[in-house]
Subunit: 440 residues, 2 copies
């Protein structure tokens, strides 16, 4: 039986031990908190000191590249798909000091994702949006985040997705400034396309091929440039869940290099678009095997299957007709001048219109585009410059020999065999040009 | 005065609280340990399960891109400079499962680095190599790391650097397989160049311009391709410490996008070189303003100021002379075939030699290279395609008007005015080709 003195001693011992334990816990929490947050910064400064996280970005003004870098804080960007491309895209925008990011993804982090940048092994099992928000907040606490852990393609989620891109801007009720598609399947791309056509929101597409060695980015301005339904991929998976495909052994390859390059090209295009510098690319491909980077522009298809796209085209035509006419010569001169004082939208439209003059007829251009740049299949992922003549011929005529569940989404009508010839010719001359380029 | 019962109750309460506190502490420690390490993996598996960190890389074999992906584990790569490009380069190689990485840098992580990928605010104050090793080990514990927190350009460190690239391979005593220059100044590039010429080691150069919107990567095979001393930059900072330049307000701009793209292109070239797939680029530039990616190859300069370069050239010539002759027609055909069964070195040499045939004389090519691609100044950083005709003319004749401390390192001899004309012509035709490309 313990005496009162013994018990009192025991109480003191326990109290001391508990205090020590709690102090350790506090220190660990403090360290964690310190790790998570640097203080917020009210105003971007150009001061050249080691403690200024924005000095190297504000230097873009002194270097004459960007007129008003601080404006980056006023923009909201939605990133749909936080995988190999989307996560790096979100990190780049966060480090650039974007105003607000909306992240959409329904997947969980897995060890199988560790061959790409951004996620770390200890995050395995967390939802991608949750893990991403945690990391991004600790990188830059000045950015606002809004995350949605759902699949945008289901009916309810799609409605909510539409609502958020319409009113999830930095100031609630304002639309987001740009939507970025970093998804890995056809269905999700089509959902974004449908939403953006209906809402008339500008977006950028991105994709990496299943064999990991090519990718692309694309700017889509509803009514002006071709939407995702204007030029559907050559072949797509029909009603097959991507996960099923993967489990049956159709596991796509991926590389941190290709994903990093595509994310870098995408965010560079975003910065040029939002901050008005350089030339914004309409389409930029990346073929890693040959280090070849095709660029092009494609106008909207008047026969597009998306009625909202056709409506946006009417709207665009109406606006174009209302604008004061510019002489042809002057327009050509304007082409050289990039990002003048007028709104980018108008400027882009000008340049786009003049580019169309040179491109010629829409239908032949479509075929070239298909031939050189698109072969979306399996999970709706794109390859650059890898469609063989035989495959194209097959797609133009009979249905090509494809794995079970994969169907042709777009065949060139029989009456278009003439354009088929055009393809051969044009592709040839592109290769000639490339050969000549290489000689230099 | 407390009773025995009250004291007993208090002891029980404290004991319970202490247990809870210690449990929390253990859980936190467990989490931290788990956070730092996934178990090492003995053999790369191609199994398609979420828990396999190599499944998407091993899929490159099934996709027909890489013959033997597992070979990645046998290679050692040295990364000199762990900044905006070097850190992402190291992360990509780590995620790809490289055998061993040697990291060299003498800088500390600062908040001013947060506009580029990789480092996080809580690492501010740590040495870059220490912070990088910690993060990279947690990402992939299968990789071996060796870090050196010093400036390779001082005499003692340079000797040690030479020793490490000669014998710091996966198996001590073996040389590293490839050296990557991710430094931001002329002096460090020259040090790497000197070491690699003397040791006959293949290396890759990378760089990003001071205005953050262009960059390049370059493969250098001593004796075969131009070394850094063969084609010195147009203008360089003379005897000015980079830090001094920065403090005086010459703070270089930087972007996570450009740095990410350059790191991605660099590591892609490393993978193609080590794993023998695709076409390895000799030189690949990135102009972010126009999304233009110039490529070219440049042979070694017989008048190079580096005597080890000249010695390597002799060695290369001797080896070439010993090789059995191949007919010209056959050589042209070989050009199309990339990475045959023979050693890459030989294959590269073949392709390089045949490329040289098309390029023509060395001196005129030098001028084209300077004109289109190089303007290293300030801290020895490169701009792509931004030298004006006036500047080139100035550099060819009198010394251009440069800021204090910046001197011309390379002037075109007066007797070369003929080549000066060639430049104008060639550049013109390049632009014509670009215009034609855009039309497609």
């Amino acid at each position: 039986m313990a005496t009162i003195e013994e018990l009192k001693l025991r109480v003191r011992e326990l109290e001391n031990e508990l205090i020590k334990c709690k102090q350790k816990q506090c220190a660990a929490e403090d360290a964690q908190n310190q790790q998570l947050h640097r203080p917020k910064i009210d105003r971007m400064s150009a001061e050249v000191v080691d403690s200024n996280p924005y000095s190297r970005l504000m230097a873009l003004k002194r270097m004459g590249i960007v007129d008003d870098y601080e404006k980056i804080r006023t923009f909201t960007v939605a990133v749909v798909g936080v995988g190999g491309v989307g996560s790096v895209t979100a990190e780049m925008l966060t480090r650039c000091g974007i105003g607000k990011l909306l992240l959409f993804d329904y997947d969980k982090v897995e060890l199988a994702n560790m061959n790409r940048l951004f996620f770390q092994p200890h995050q395995a099992g967390l939802s991608k949006v949750e893990a991403a928000e945690h990391t991004l907040r600790s990188i830059n606490p000045d950015v606002s985040f809004e995350t949605h852990n759902y699949n945008i393609t289901t009916m309810d989620n799609f409605t909510h997705f539409m609502e958020r891109i319409s009113s999830g801007g930095l100031e609630e009720g304002q639309p987001v400034d740009l939507i970025l598609s970093c998804v890995d399947n056809f269905e999700a791309r089509m959902a974004i396309n449908t939403a953006c056509n209906e809402l008339g929101r500008i977006w950028m597409e991105s994709g990496v091929s299943e064999n990991a060695v090519s990718g692309h980015i694309q700017l889509i301005i509803p009514g002006e440039t071709a939407c995702f339904a204007c030029a559907p991929p050559l072949v797509v998976a029909a009603n097959i869940d991507e996960k099923t495909l993967k489990r049956e052994g159709v596991c796509a390859a991926s590389l941190p290099t290709t994903m990093g390059v595509v994310a870098g090209l995408l965010v560079q295009n975003v910065l040029k678009f939002l901050l008005k510098f350089g030339t914004v690319s309409y389409y930029l491909g990346y073929n890693a095997m040959q280090d070849f980077f095709p660029t092009m522009a494609m106008k909207a298809n008047p026969q597009c299957s998306d009625r909202y796209c056709r409506r946006q085209q009417e709207e665009y035509k109406r606006k174009e007709a209302e604008r004061p006419k510019v002489e042809a010569v002057q327009e050509e001169e304007e082409e050289e001048v990039v990002h003048e004082d007028n709104e980018w939208g108008e400027n882009a439209a000008d340049r786009y219109a003049s580019e169309q003059c040179r491109i010629g007829s829409c239908s032949s251009f479509f075929v070239i585009f298909l031939c050189i740049n698109t072969r979306l299949y399996g999970a709706g992922i794109e390859l650059v410059s890898e469609v063989t003549d035989a495959e194209l011929q097959a797609a133009s005529g009979a249905v090509p020999d494809l794995p079970e569940g994969i169907t042709v989404a777009y065949t060139i009508p029989v009456e278009d065999t003439e354009s088929g010839d055009t393809v051969g010719e044009t592709e040839q001359s592109l290769e000639d040009l490339m050969a000549q380029m290489r000689k230099l």
